[in-house]
């Protein structure tokens, strides 16, 4: 064998390196589009199980909303569109009639009918079924399925938001025949739905493999397989995206967004969160029982700085307790003001005696929770408030949430599940609700009346008044409405959803094809 020169060795090394760099090839192909038939998504945690009525966590609903269909479908633009129901109307005050889509099949070939829909909704609140979404359809009195194409839902009182409730968690329609045959445990492991993808396999804490449902009524999705991987750490999740191993990653924090944008083949795409990040207030505990103190706390927060510095501009300053994008959001309201001088003045008027105000925060449960708590603490101290940050573990927070034992203020990220104040402000702040630490007779009266009214003008007026009251009493101190950012390959065309769903149906997802 002839002796190799140093140049030969270098040539071989270069060829070897090029062969070992699979990332190079797809990145060259990006500009021309892709032939990819597999969509790989990475999220921060694994699916717990697939029964859609057993979970409300975002890692689970990203999958379950694609395995299953709802009667109504909440689109990323916030509008409600037909799902398994093609149309619906209110008859009288308390009877909703749904026309159910015909010719739809379950993933195992069984035909879908209105009886499945009736079974599904009844299952959510059936005490024997022991579901985790039993509070979603408390307004329902009874359900009838007079024929395969019709579903009639009678509510206890007028419920203007029933179609919206059917569009979110709890509303996924499950197969009666299959569930009766295999039981809930098998169903939770090997689910069957009517959705655009069907279940193939699940390796716990690694990946869920799904394949396109070729007969999907909404059109076959633009890929053959969907793989949902659990990549808990942010840095490796971003690395997997940059290397081209995955097409889409969730929960991108603002500081990582810059890296993704700087890369040739990846982009960041965000949706304004359908909800708010607020400091919820235990108004029962002095000095937080004094509205002047709470007004001062709100005035002392420089939200612009939080948005600009901590979120790198990926958020907006709220104007009140209703999220931008929701029904009855008032665009004419100004953003919440920052006025430390006025804050000091109101503290003085309130007779504030330097009592300690505790900010209870988790570290990483909500994006940016701890840094934001520290920033607010500093701002409050500047305004003369004796503020202190205490860090809680997530499960301790859940326990305190249950016991209603928060000491002062704490982070909450209320989701507007119905894109309406009833599904957010009233769901969480109403009497007996999880954040019921403050009562106001007029607020309660208005909230109750708005819940059971089908007159949108009346509801708009009620929520306007409730907003005014809440900006005087601050049961929540809204801080930011952030963007939820995703990292994408440029070959992916996809619009993120404000409610953390992963909508991959034909109308919302496609690969840029060569």
């Amino acid at each position: 064998m002839a002796e190799m020169t140093r140049r030969d060795v270098l040539k071989m090394a270069a060829a070897g390196a090029a062969a070992a760099l699979p990332g190079v090839v797809p990145s060259l192909a990006h500009s021309q589009g892709t032939q990819k038939r597999e969509l790989v998504v990475a999220q921060g945690g694994d699916v717990a199980q697939f029964d859609p009525h057993m979970s409300t966590s975002s890692n689970d609903i990203r999958v379950s909303f694609n395995l299953f269909d709802n009667l109504t479908s909440r689109r990323p633009d916030g509008k409600l569109a037909p799902g398994l129901a093609t149309e619906w109307k209110l008859q009288g005050q308390t009877t909703w009639v749904f026309k159910v889509r015909q010719g739809v099949k379950w993933h195992n070939g069984d035909p879908f009918s209105s009886a499945d829909a009736k079974f599904s909704i009844e299952r959510t609140y059936d005490p024997n079924a022991k579901m985790r979404v039993s509070t979603v359809f408390t307004t329902v009195e009874r359900i009838e399925a007079p024929d395969a194409a019709t579903l009639v839902i009678h509510t206890k009182k007028p419920d203007p938001l029933l179609p919206a409730r059917l569009g979110f968690y709890g509303g996924q329609i499950v197969p009666k025949k299959y569930l009766d045959a295999v039981g809930p445990d098998t169903f939770g492991q090997k689910p069957i739905g009517t959705g655009p993808v069907r279940f193939v396999s699940w390796t716990k804490d690694d990946r869920v493999v799904l394949e396109a449902n070729p007969d999907y009524w909404g059109g076959r999705v633009d890929f053959d397989r969907l793989i949902v991987r659990a990549l808990p750490e942010m840095a490796p999740r971003v690395a997997a995206l940059l290397k081209g191993e995955v097409d889409l990653i969730t929960q991108v924090p603002p500081d990582q967004g810059e890296r993704i944008k700087a890369h040739a083949s990846t982009v960041v795409s965000g949706a304004l969160y359908g909800g708010l990040y607020v400091l919820a207030v235990n108004s029962g505990r002095p000095p937080l029982d004094n509205p002047l103190v709470k007004q001062a706390l709100s005035l002392a927060i420089d939200r612009e700085v939080i948005v600009k510095e901590l979120w790198r501009g990926r958020g907006v300053v709220p104007s009140g307790p209703i999220a931008k994008g929701d029904n009855h959001f008032d665009p004419s309201l100004p953003a919440l003001a920052y006025d430390p001088k006025e804050a000091r003045e109101r503290l003085r008027k309130a007779g504030y005696k330097n009592e300690e105000i505790v900010i209870e925060t988790t570290a990483g449960y909500m994006a940016g929770d701890k840094p934001m708590a520290e920033a607010v603490q500093a701002m409050w101290r500047d305004a003369g408030v004796n503020a202190k940050v205490e860090v809680l573990e997530y499960s301790v927070r859940a326990q305190k949430n249950r016991d209603k034992s928060f000491k002062g203020v704490w982070w909450s990220d209320p989701t507007s599940t119905l894109r309406d104040p009833d599904g957010m402000m009233w769901r969480l702040l109403g009497p007996g609700a999880p954040q019921d630490y403050w009562r106001h007779p007029e607020f309660d009266e208005l909230g109750n009346a708005a819940r059971f009214s089908v007159d949108e003008k009346f509801r708009a007026d009620a929520y306007r008044k409730m907003t005014k009251i809440s900006l005087e009493h601050f049961p929540w101190i809204p801080v930011i409405q952030p963007y939820e950012d995703y990292g994408l390959q440029k070959r992916v065309e996809w619009t993120p959803d404000p409610l953390q769903q992963l909508e991959i149906r034909r109308f919302n997802f496609k690969f840029r094809r060569a």
Binding site: S134, D206, P236, A239, Q399, N401, R402, P434
Partner: protein, 308 residues
């Protein structure tokens, strides 16, 4: 052979007591740490719903009754049903074991194969450039946090050089970086301890005698030194083996490796008592079995141990 049976019996008894203590401590600590139910239900669930689910999971009964049921079930090999996964806790943990064993074993083999020769070499060439360099590296391996090593490897090897996948479980290529990350600490510990154990033996009188007799240096090291230095090396290697197999939370998290370390942490967050209890119990069994094997190896290596 006469001494073996009582030796085995006393070891077994100690192992059982250790297992009982471990399971009791886990049981108590998990109960002290909080209630799983608020984590299972949506935040707006009413109190009645919380009480209903508590009763469904048997958490409304007195703790002593729960403990008695728990112990009885463990004796029958039943760790209960996972609250989070809604299936047998043992089946859940068993599903994660192959990934853990695959990673732990690879990390261990990698660590031992690299560390033992390096340790011996450093000792034999004491204070040479090789010694300085390898022990410097070992110091880094022992002191750099696993998290740091893992992310560094992902960025350099996977992302910049494009050589190996960033994370996940698959073929051998997926295994290299996590095994290296996980094995780094064990590799460093074993190398350093091997070096000092060999050094200690090398300064013994019988080594001087062997050299004086004219035995070749290679034979001195292989025949006279290694066997005498083996007891501490076997100890540390065995302990590292147990640790590596017990699941590696940080490595598994960084590389999204579906092993029992991550399962245990997730289950602690979820207050999934049965899974935590089962994981800890199985890890304890593993550790005790390995310790037991080390004891047996001592006996083989060192006649004095057998005699005592």
């Amino acid at each position: 052979m006469r001494g073996l049976l009582p030796f085995l019996a006393s070891r077994l008894l100690r192992a059982l007591v250790a297992l009982w203590l471990v399971s009791t401590v886990v049981f108590v600590v998990m109960r002290l740490s909080g209630d799983p139910v608020p984590l299972l239900l949506p935040p707006d669930a009413p109190r009645s719903e919380i009480f209903r689910v508590r009763a469904e999971l048997g958490l409304d009964r007195p703790v002593l009754v729960q403990y008695a049921i728990f112990l009885g079930n463990v004796l029958r090999g039943d760790f209960g049903r996972s609250i989070h996964f809604r299936q047998s806790a043992f089946r859940v943990v068993a599903g994660y074991l192959p990934a853990t064993i695959e990673l732990g074993l690879s990390a261990f083999v990698l660590a031992a194969v690299v560390a033992l020769p390096i340790g011996v070499l450093s000792a034999v060439r004491r204070n040479s450039a090789v010694d300085q360099a390898t022990m410097g590296l070992a110091l880094v391996g022992q002191s750099a946090p696993t998290f740091f090593i893992g992310i560094l490897l992902i960025l350099v090897v996977s992302l910049n050089l494009g050589l190996l996948p960033t994370s996940g479980r698959g073929d051998w290529r997926n295994l290299v970086l996590p095994a290296l990350t996980l094995g780094a600490f064990a590799m460093a510990s074993i190398a350093r301890l091997t070096r000092s154990a060999v050094l200690e033996v090398l300064s013994a009188d019988y080594i001087r005698t062997a050299r004086a007799k004219g035995v070749s240096e290679a034979l001195v090291v292989v025949k006279h030194t290694l066997k005498n230095a083996a007891v501490p090396i076997v100890t540390i290697t065995g302990l590292q083996f147990g640790t590596l197999l017990g699941g590696a939370v940080v490595t598994e998290t960084v590389f999204a490796w579906p092993g029992i370390g991550r399962l245990a942490i997730q289950s602690i967050y979820n207050r999934d008592y049965p899974v935590v209890q089962c994981t800890v119990f199985l890890s304890a069994v593993l550790f005790i079995v390995i310790n037991f094997c080390i004891d047996l190896i001592y006996g083989l290596l060192d006649p004095r141990v057998r005699a005592s």
